[in-house]
Symmetry: C2
Subunit: 234 residues, 2 copies
């Protein structure tokens, strides 16, 4: 395992990665950048936290507590090491479990913001999935579904609490449907293009028990030629 300094260099942080087994993606940085934290924010939980890039970046924008949840022990261990190395263990904590069990750790209606960079791909019997089970679980909905995110986020979020999610644009219709089914009202959408003529990545901010209307779709951002993602959404 090598400490890769440069990946979170812009934020003045170190992060443990494993070239062979797990590296965080651009999408986690975009998700952390997309989150608005105001003075009332006291408690943030990051689902599917991986090696904890989202908690680490959010710690530079916010002085409160952040909990990350990661199912896979090896990846969770990478995250724990990064938190210690960055001396953030006084306010960043990781839980090694499935987000479906979040009610065992976090009180209902106690959280201001939930963030999530989930596995992107549907899992079906015939899915072409990675031979490597660890990578497959990180990428495919094997251990959890979009519905599980909604159920667990609804449980821990305060009324009018905020859910931020990053996902693939090609699954937008399903994501919107599931959010609606669990009474999340979408307030902000940011599409991101990584080259070509389509937007691959979508960032969504939704409010628990919010009202429809006043949804803002922000001008698309093309990241194919940027040098830093820090402050990319202005």
């Amino acid at each position: 395992v090598a400490i890769v300094k440069n990946d979170l260099y812009d934020y003045g942080l170190f992060i443990y990665q494993d070239d062979k087994r797990f590296k965080f993606s651009l999408d986690s940085i975009l998700l952390a950048e997309f989150v608005n934290i105001d003075k009332n924010t006291k408690y943030i939980v990051d689902f599917c936290t991986g090696n904890a890039p989202v908690p680490l970046i959010l710690s530079t924008k916010y002085a409160g507590n952040i909990v990350g949840i990661e199912l896979q022990k090896y990846i969770y261990d990478l995250g724990c090491k990064s938190i210690l190395t960055n001396k953030l263990n006084n306010r960043l904590e990781l839980i090694n479990d499935n987000i479906k069990n979040v009610n065992n750790y976090i009180e209902s209606e106690s959280v201001d913001i939930v963030t999530c960079n989930p596995p992107y791909f549907k899992y079906e019997k015939n899915s072409l999935i990675n031979d490597n089970r660890e990578k497959a679980i990180a990428r495919h909905e094997i251990e959890m579904s979009l519905e599980d995110i909604m159920i667990s986020a609804r449980y821990i979020l305060k009324n009018k609490g905020e859910l931020y999610i990053v996902h693939r644009s090609d699954r937008l219709q399903e994501i919107v449907n599931v959010l609606s089914n669990y009474k999340f009202a979408i307030k902000k959408i940011q599409f991101v293009c990584t080259g070509g003529n389509v937007s691959n990545i979508v960032l969504i901010k939704a409010i628990k028990n919010g009202n429809y209307g006043s949804l803002k779709v922000f001008k698309e951002v093309d990241v194919s030629n940027v040098n830093t993602y820090k402050g990319i959404f202005g």
Copy 2:
């Protein structure tokens, strides 16, 4: 009533407008530009056709029949005059009725493409609506709702037929929900920005009884500084 030549000048067409009572909007041009017509397309119906800008523009991309439906008699009459003036009455026809009654005019499962530029605003008892009833009906969901579009479009569209709709981006969540409820799968989304940092207009192509997946969100187009809309989506 003045014949306004220039508004559809790029298409070599005349269109009757009425500065005081009804003029078509940019959004109708964008909708017509967004429609893909292939060699299998035999029958197109335009809901809420107004003074018929969408049928008129589509007639320049396609040699088949187009029917437009417009509830308001005065606006319908403007459309009929334009069709005659452009000598398109051999293949363009308008119906003066509510789209809810489409089954009185058009056979079920007979249509390849439905297009719709509907009233954009919700209508509630307390809505601030235009004093002018004609304008209010064109802008607010007084005589029809998003659900009515889906019910009528489902009725006349062939299996796997295409629904193209233009709407306000801030109602995206409701539009996606209603499409899903009536088993339309979204295949293409095009956001359009008319200035500022948000996308105001969304264009959606959805397929009756289609499968989720393979949704493409195209790179946003900013129309604030264009000279012509013709061919704007490449």
